[in-house]
Assembly symmetry: C2
Amino acid sequence: MSSSKNVVIGLAGLGTVGSGLVQLLKDNAEEIEQRTGKKIFVKYVAVRNTNTKRDIPEGAKLIDNPLIMVDDPEVQVVVELMGGLGMADILIRQALEKGKSVVTANKALLAEKGEELFALAEEKNLSLAYEASVAGAIPVVQTLKDSLAGNKINTIFGILNGTSNYILSEMSAHGTEFGAALKTAQDLGFAEADPTLDIDGFDAAHKLKLLIRLAWGVHYPYEKLPVQGIRDMSAMDIAFARSLGYSIKLLGQASRVHEEIEAGVSPVLIPEKAMLARVDGAFNAIHINGNAVGSLFLHGLGAGSLPTASAVLGDIMSLMKDIYDSTGYVMEKLPLAPMANPDKTEAPWYLRLMVHDTVGVLRDIAGIFAKHSISIAQVIQKKKQEDGVPLVFMTHETSVRAMKDALHEIEATKILNCRPVAFRVLELV
Amino acid sequence: MSSSKNVVIGLAGLGTVGSGLVQLLKDNAEEIEQRTGKKIFVKYVAVRNTNTKRDIPEGAKLIDNPLIMVDDPEVQVVVELMGGLGMADILIRQALEKGKSVVTANKALLAEKGEELFALAEEKNLSLAYEASVAGAIPVVQTLKDSLAGNKINTIFGILNGTSNYILSEMSAHGTEFGAALKTAQDLGFAEADPTLDIDGFDAAHKLKLLIRLAWGVHYPYEKLPVQGIRDMSAMDIAFARSLGYSIKLLGQASRVHEEIEAGVSPVLIPEKAMLARVDGAFNAIHINGNAVGSLFLHGLGAGSLPTASAVLGDIMSLMKDIYDSTGYVMEKLPLAPMANPDKTEAPWYLRLMVHDTVGVLRDIAGIFAKHSISIAQVIQKKKQEDGVPLVFMTHETSVRAMKDALHEIEATKILNCRPVAFRVLELV
């Protein structure tokens, strides 16, 4: 139900991203209200076919003409997730004309026909928010617009298309040729039946055009961007590049050189040790260099239902602040954290014990570990050093309490030459 | 001079970050005005000793009592860069009381005594902005507050202290012991004469406290955080860890586990292939996992004059938007980009030519390269394959024009079996 405590939105499009948004509005409703003090009420969901059964938010009306939401004065924000250059364009234009802010993930529309829409939003003093349009869940729009606002940006390099990156990662990992890697990507849902937009570099170019706009406040016509895709990529070149110490990535690049913008999308060799070269699979990443910030690197999921919806929802919530003038958490005083007992924290452990070089030491230590239910994953005994024999253990998940107790007991046996060293292990992917 | 087109600020503190801010306000004045339509006017600069000669902005008054700026109704934003828990606390409190928003980089103050200040800001409906307090130039405050606002955050891991990370990187790269690495860090200005705050983990804990606040909207008392530093770190353990495939990093960690917050700062083993393990030197990095965004990784400079000032300036500019209600670029229509001629772009190149297996081919190709002033860095000739002999070249910087002309000429000689493959090389550090 709508009330003054709600922000009322109209949602156009219930595909991958639209469904993700509906799910997030449900799953994270508590967090949204905690941060903003308001609920988000979806009054309309526009889809092409209203006869199909859909999972839509409680109280929402299913409509097949998205322009209905524009004519409803109660709707404050129009969320355009239909895609395409036709109806989406009309919807956004009319929404702005009627005083509604817009959130969109439509990179193609903004890159190819966006300048008029941006001008209209500025003229009406409304927001046209599009974080989800560039690199999915990576907050690069906000970073360039706000966090780095006081910088002269020098360069932006980005892996901006997850499909191409997945294909190149596949080719690199398994030595497969382009056609086979594309087929795998299609079978797994990482590439569309018609993959042109992704593999020929146009999708990356859409995003690059928007990044240039954000970084330098200029309009670089999309159709003027030099674009080369990965359709002709050969496994042989990936292998040669690797033998020279490089990975091949499809990169969007833009630099300011002598007051000119040098920009384009193309496959590029990147040194294997650089973070950009280590961006694998469906991930995106962006490397920004500015005269104040220096080098900044952002890495995250560039597509997918929930990651993209995360960016859409972030934009909606930023608008809610503008609409209601509240910032951050609405509570004046935050509640005390429910602090976990640190002793109960579980992790694998690295242990180093410097022991006397006598018979039975390992047996005694292992016995104490067993008593405290500490399971050992690896043991390394190194050769004797000045202050004893180093015994290194890697354990399975063990609580801080169990580890403390076991070490205490080991120390009491007087078989150690120095205090034990114990660090937790973080098993990241 | 102040006018309605200015935002008037008072700057307290002219140390590393304060001086960086003064430099940015000068160097990037054009960008600031282009984005906001306003100038930033510094009316006061408060320093301890007003007799020393200082580089301060034109028109600013040098004062030794920072509270003077609080009593001037013209000052809209107080920028606190003095540090410490004493006068900074008083200044921020009084500024908020008198209706001025505050920007600060004072992580110690916010972590140890911040709850009252945050409550006061919320009560007065003012901003207390602190992007520069956590991980320097990395926009993690804004990311958690806005971009990821619609997420349930699961975990945050961060390398939050550049000094410790520099020391650990040194120990790892050269096998040096802690004492020697600390001395190097001090000699190079990466560590202070009294390094306690950094190497004993307290600085990282200050930042972790603020991250927990941002991620979960709860107050985790700073003094309750379990903290272990790197003072006792031994080169031997770094070597053992490496032999097991891990790097040791000082990590701030926080997770929501069964509705409890599990948090702390300690040295941790991280798999070498993980991006967090590859954060070297004075860099910081933060890894966030949320239920919508998935995995997000942010990497940048965690300290230093300009990087930290970049974050301070970003906060000031965000406030300017609030104060004047303008968003993004103020122009309705952005100017056309000064597009560089793509043919003039220079880069090193990777070239693969499939040539006939005949005498003189390499000589002919090398001759054409020389004619177009293309300098070769590496040549690899591979053994004959089905469609010819692969000749791989890595060139020095060459323009697209020269490369196109040379390849055109090579193709005309009919010594190639297939079209040449040419990709640019990006020499990232």
